[in-house]
Structure formats: structure tokens, C-alpha cells
């Protein structure tokens, strides 16, 4: 919801197709491409009703749509020489953007009120760094807010241990990676941990809450969109 409010703040009218579900990544990454294809096609159809920019508030979902759809649909047509699927995927990829990167130069920063300074730790997800290449935008958007002190954990570019089904299929090593990442985040002594990737955020906040008893001043996990919306004091509707 905060993503929508930010887009509206930037002057956009947001269309939210109710038919949307999941981008298909979980099954696709787990080897069940056959089952994910139906969901992928459904997503392409849903967002092809309009030719509007598709804004995705999570880097890994955005990466899936922008980079993996075409690959997934290559040679999947029932007819030989039929590349409609791939063409549709390419067309959608062309107009798919990660939310924060899209917003970076479009927000009315001059409207930000003077606030006491804040320590904010940024988790730049793997998808944001390596697939969408938007990690720099995440940092920049925070830097544009003068009261924010942007911090990065040690091993900032390392995976947080989520990796979708990896967290369940290889739980021990995933847990260690998550613990390491959370320790590095806590070491920054930030008040907030923010990220633009929902998967990482769910993983990090899940673990941070789990170890909450060990923290005197718990760090607050927040999606970048919600955090930015909060800085602009956009009203909370829900």
C-alpha cells in the first residue's frame, strides 16, 4: 500500500489489476518450471491488459519478470515457430521497473520536513545488486533525505540466507547465513533495517524478532517503500 502512496505522491495514477497473484519465481527456482509456466503466463496476461509501466515493489520479483520470463518461455510453445509467448514476455520486460529505482528522481524531496537525524541500515538484496542493478538507487534515495544516516552491514553484498525454498531445503546453512547477516546489521546500531526486497525482509525480520530478547533497543525492519512513505508522512489507511 505504501508503494502505491509513493507512486501517487510522485504524480501517478496507479492501476492495480485484481487478477494478479505471484510472479512464479518460487516454483521456477525450485525446478518446477512446468508448473510455474501457467502462473507466468497468467501474470503476463494480467499485465498486458494495459501497456502501462509495471512497477514491482520487490527486486527479486522484478528480476523474475524482467530477466527470467523470456528465458522460461523460450521454446515452450506447443507450436514450432510460435514465439508469441516469448514476444509477450519481452514486451513486458521492457516496461518492468523496480519501484525504488523508478521513484528515485520523481519524489518531491523539497517537501520533506526537518527531522532529527536517524540511523538507517540498508540491506541491498542480491536481486537488487546482480539482477536489477538498482542497489545504488536504494542507497541514493536514502541519501537524498538529509536527516538519514545510511549504514551498511559488514559483508553488505552477501546473501542474507533467504533464497526462497533454500531456507527450507537447506535450513542449517541458511540459518547461519541469516544469523551472520543479522549480527552485522545489529552491529551498525541502526534504528531501522530497510530493504526493497520482500523475501529478504521477511527472513531478516523473522530472525530479528526471534532473537529480540537479546536486544535492548530492537531494530525496526521496514520495507524501503514504507520507510520512505513514513518520511513523507503519508497517512496510514489500514
Amino acid at each position: 500500500m505504501d508503494a502505491i502512496k509513493l507512486l501517487e505522491l510522485a504524480g501517478y495514477e496507479v492501476v492495480f489489476p485484481q487478477a494478479q497473484t505471484c510472479c512464479g519465481q518460487p516454483a521456477y527456482n525450485s525446478g518446477f518450471k512446468d508448473l510455474s509456466l501457467d502462473v507466468i503466463r497468467h501474470t503476463i496476461n494480467t499485465f498486458s491488459q494495459h501497456s502501462l509501466p509495471l512497477i514491482v515493489p520487490s527486486a527479486s520479483c522484478a528480476g523474475m519478470i524482467k530477466h527470467h520470463y523470456q528465458h522460461a518461455l523460450k521454446k515452450e510453445s506447443a507450436l514450432p515457430n510460435d514465439d508469441t509467448d516469448a514476444k509477450n514476455a519481452a514486451e513486458l520486460a521492457e516496461r518492468t521497473f523496480e519501484l525504488i529505482d523508478f521513484l528515485l528522481d520523481k519524489l518531491p524531496y523539497h517537501r520533506l520536513k526537518k527531522r532529527p537525524s536517524m540511523r538507517v541500515c540498508l540491506h541491498q538484496s542480491c536481486s537488487a545488486q546482480r539482477e536489477m542493478k538498482v542497489a545504488a538507487s536504494w542507497e541514493k534515495i536514502l541519501i537524498r533525505m538529509p536527516h538519514i544516516d545510511v549504514l551498511k552491514p559488514q559483508y553488505a553484498d552477501e546473501c542474507c540466507g533467504f533464497g526462497g525454498t533454500f531456507a527450507v531445503k537447506s535450513p542449517d546453512v541458511s540459518a547461519v547465513m541469516t544469523e551472520d547477516k543479522c549480527r552485522a546489521i545489529l552491529n551498525t546500531q541502526a534504528e531501522y533495517i530497510v530493504s526493497g526486497d520482500c523475501g529478504c525482509l521477511m527472513n531478516l525480520s523473522g530472525h530479528l524478532e526471534h532473537r529480540i530478547e537479546h536486544q535492548e533497543e530492537p531494530i525496526k525492519p521496514m520495507h524501503l517503500a514504507s520507510f520512505i512513505a513514513q518520511q513523507f508522512e503519508l497517512s496510514d489507511e489500514h
Binding site: 500500500m1 542480491c126 489500514h238
Partner: protein, 459 residues
């Protein structure tokens, strides 16, 4: 391996000194590589070149191998083809018998690990001593390499000092690396002197000149391939390259990616046995070309880039999983990301399918790969093969079927998310493996779809 991968991971994770050794070493190697490729544009250009050379090579693999064989024969190098590990071992044995060999020294070679050469020769009462310091340490400890470039990286100085004291009965100062290396060298010098055969791997084999290239830092490769009267080189068939002009690019990518060195200490180019007017060098040089499943991979359109690998180890140095569990946990000759990709292809899903689980698809390996192998893409492809070859569980099939049904039908999805939100039922969809170390997220009171439906209906 009689334990499963998950168990081996748990064992590795519970060893604090192993974890510290790996983290420290990988941090060091990552930093070295970063410095070596500090110019981003140069790195990108070099990686592109490296990728192009390797892709071109793979496209012409049969022709290049024939050309290599022809030119090696012209140069006086004996060429043998080994379909599998067993055939390669038998070729080694035949040559050893011809040479009446009792003692063999070996330079670092992962291909010889792949065929289990040391144990095999030992069975035939032929002593085979590793001459690379790391490999020698591993051999003394009766272990296997835990890294393809730094075989003993899992050990720290104190552990090595203890090992030398125990096995070589030498007084060792754990704080004096030079002394430790000196002790190892003293033993190895004698071995070089008395060896009947020197064995090595091959980093690159140049097809149009019939030249074997060996990249190394300790000089043990040079000694192993020149001091004994016969030299046997074992190479995977994918290590061929078209010509000498491809070498500078690849060797620069190799050493910088592996250890952050701009240039290797020893670059050996072996083109023939000792010639008539020469005073040293082996009298015979043998090249064994090992297939062992590689030609099958080469023909696989979706997976053939696996063979582009130049064995630099950068993928494991940058892998957050490898960094934590180390090489032994994989239980395969080749650990880390490339091992997870290669082993199921070489040894089959029955044996190695489980390796595919321990990857978060974070992409750090693919980013570091000097020849642009898209490791995460290959991982996804192999996971599909695992599913299609029925190596995934029935439960998993059911889960993904239900997942598909819900996400394919918007109304069902709407109902499902609404119900979960209303009942706050996130615990049901998060398995125990998740809940042990993490809280489950609390869904919003209303699903986003509901909220937006309501918002739209508002005047």
C-alpha cells in the same frame, strides 16, 4: 559418501575452527581478486574475451581435440584417450609398468582426484606423493582437497604444525610459516630426486601447437614434469584451447580470479619430451585425455557451458554457502558452485542431486566467474532435471501443484489470502525448518487485494 549432504553440512557448521579458517581465507581471496580486477572496464572486457574463447572452444571441441592429438603426436607426446575414470587408471598403470615405476610424484591436479589416482596406485604398490604443498598436507592428513586451488585451506598453521610433528617427527613452530614450508620442502626434494614418473594436470592444452600449459606457483609442477624420466599429464577434454594467442587472456583471468596474482610464478609450456641434443627433461611424455562424462555434457545444449570452467575457484571463494561449510561437506571432488553443477552431471542425480539444494541463487558465483558461466542459470536447469528425473519428493510435487492452482486462479488466490489474513494463519504455511530460527510474519488484517478493492469503491 555414507552420510547425506544435510548431515555433513551440520557437522561442518558445528566446527568453529573450520568456519573461522574458511571465512578468513575467503575474505582474503575475495579482497585479492577485487584488487586484481580494480578496473571495472578492464574486467568486463577481459571476462567477455574469456567467455568468447571458451564458448568457441566448446563449439569446436571434437575438431580441436583431434588437432591437439595430431600435433602432440607430431611433437613426440604419446596421446591416450580415456572414456572413463577406470580406463584412465588402467592407462596410468600400464605406463607405470612399462616404466617399471615404483615411485611417482604428482603436481596439483583435480582430474587425478576425480579418478582417485593416489589410492589406485597405492593398491598397486606404487608410491604416489603429492608435490604441491597444500596437496602434500592433505595427503599426510589422509584427507581430500577442500578447495580446488588451495587444497589445505581448511587447516590453519597450528593444525599443520601439529600434523608435521605427528607424521614427519619434526619440531615445528606453529608461528613460523617459512619453517613449516621448509620442512615440507625438504621431504619433497628427496621425492623428486627418486621418482620414476612425474604426474601433472593440464590447465590449458593448445591445439594448434600441441602444447600443454601448466600454471603453478611452487615450482613443483616444473620439477614433477622435468626431473623424472617420464611425465604423464591428465586432462579433462574440455581444457583444450585453439591457439597460443588465447592463452594470455585465459591465464590472466585464471591467476587473477584464483589468487589475485597478475601473473603466475611458473608458467610451464610443454611441447615435447627431451630432444636428442638436450640434457634434461623427461624421455617420454604421455597425455591422457579424460572424458568421464564430458562429451555427454558437451552435447547438452542447456548445460554445455559447464565445461567452459577454467578451475579458478572464484565461484567457491565468493559463495556464501561454501564460505560457511567448506569443501569437504560437499562430498564431491569438485566443491562449491561449480561442483554443485558439475557433479550431478558427472555422477548422476542419484548420487549428487542433493547438492542442488544448498544454493540460494544469490548470483555471487556467476558474477565472479572469469569466463561468464551463468552458474545460477545452470543451477535452475539442473533443478528442473532433478524434478523431471523423479528425484524430488512426492510432498514437494503436491505442494507445487497446490501452489500453481492457487496462483493460476485469481479468485482462489483472493480467497486464500483473505482467509490467511483474517485468521492470521501464517504459521501453517511456514514449515518447521523456518520456524526454528525465525518468527513467521503476521499477515495484515486485510489482504492488499481487499484493501485496494475497498479503496476503489470509496467515493
Amino acid at each position: 559418501m555414507n552420510t547425506n549432504f544435510a548431515t555433513r553440512i551440520r557437522v561442518a557448521l558445528s566446527d568453529p575452527s573450520l568456519r573461522a579458517n574458511f571465512r578468513g581465507a575467503m575474505d582474503f581471496l575475495q579482497a585479492k581478486r577485487r584488487t586484481a580486477f580494480s578496473n571495472e572496464d578492464e574486467w568486463t572486457a577481459l571476462q567477455r574475451q574469456g567467455k568468447a574463447i571458451r564458448q568457441q572452444t566448446l563449439h569446436q571441441l571434437p575438431e580441436l581435440l583431434e588437432q591437439l592429438e595430431h600435433n602432440c603426436l607430431q611433437n613426440g607426446i604419446n596421446v591416450h584417450w580415456a572414456e572413463d575414470a577406470e580406463e584412465a587408471r588402467q592407462i596410468f598403470l600400464t605406463i607405470a609398468q612399462e616404466e617399471n615405476a615404483k615411485k611417482v610424484v604428482k603436481g596439483k591436479s583435480m582430474a587425478t582426484e576425480e579418478i582417485g589416482l593416489n589410492a589406485f596406485l597405492e593398491e598397486h604398490e606404487i608410491e604416489c606423493i603429492e608435490s604441491d604443498m597444500g596437496e602434500y598436507i592433505v595427503q599426510l592428513a589422509e584427507e581430500t582437497p577442500s578447495h580446488i586451488i588451495m587444497p589445505a585451506i581448511h587447516k590453519n598453521q597450528a593444525q599443520i604444525a601439529e600434523l608435521f610433528q605427528d607424521k614427519l617427527h619434526e619440531e615445528c613452530d606453529a608461528n613460523n610459516v617459512d619453517q613449516l614450508i621448509g620442512i615440507g620442502r625438504k621431504v619433497l626434494r628427496q621425492k623428486f630426486k627418486h621418482a620414476d614418473i612425474g604426474v601433472s594436470g593440464v590447465n590449458f592444452a593448445i591445439a594448434d601447437s600441441g602444447t600443454l600449459c601448466l600454471v603453478e606457483n611452487e615450482g613443483n609442477g616444473r620439477l614433477s614434469t622435468t626431473a623424472p624420466k617420464a611425465h604423464i599429464a591428465l586432462m579433462g577434454i574440455e581444457k583444450v584451447i585453439p591457439n597460443l594467442s588465447c592463452l594470455p587472456t585465459l591465464q590472466s583471468l585464471l591467476t587473477r580470479s584464483a589468487t589475485g596474482q597478475h601473473i603466475t610464478t611458473y608458467l610451464n609450456l610443454i611441447t615435447s619430451p627431451r630432444k636428442q641434443d638436450e640434457h634434461d627433461g623427461p624421455l617420454k611424455v604421455h597425455l591422457i585425455l579424460l572424458d568421464n562424462g564430458r562429451s555427454r555434457i558437451a552435447q547438452d545444449e542447456a548445460l554445455h557451458t559447464t565445461l567452459a570452467c577454467i578451475r579458478c575457484g572464484a565461484c567457491m571463494n565468493h559463495c556464501p554457502v561454501y564460505t560457511r561449510i567448506g569443501g569437504h561437506a560437499y562430498g564431491s571432488t569438485y566443491p562449491g558452485p561449480i561442483g554443485q553443477i558439475l557433479t550431478p552431471q558427472l555422477n548422476g542425480m542419484d548420487e549428487a542431486g542433493e547438492l542442488l539444494d544448498a544454493c540460494s541463487l544469490n548470483g555471487a558465483c556467476g558474477e565472479a566467474c572469469p569466463v561468464g558461466i551463468e552458474l545460477p542459470e545452470l543451477m535452475r536447469e539442473l533443478r528442473q532435471r532433478k524434478h523431471h528425473s523423479k528425484h524430488t519428493t512426492y510432498t514437494e510435487h503436491i505442494i507445487w501443484r497446490v501452489w500453481k492452482r492457487i496462483h493460476r486462479h485469481p479468485k482462489l488466490y483472493y480467497a486464500a489470502t483473505r482467509t490467511l489474513s483474517r485468521l492470521g494463519l501464517s504459521r501453517t504455511i511456514f514449515p518447521k525448518a523456518w520456524r526454528q530460527t525465525r518468527h513467521t510474519p503476521m499477515p495484515a488484517k486485510q489482504s492488499l487485494h481487499q484493501q485496494l478493492k475497498a479503496r476503489k469503491q470509496r467515493p
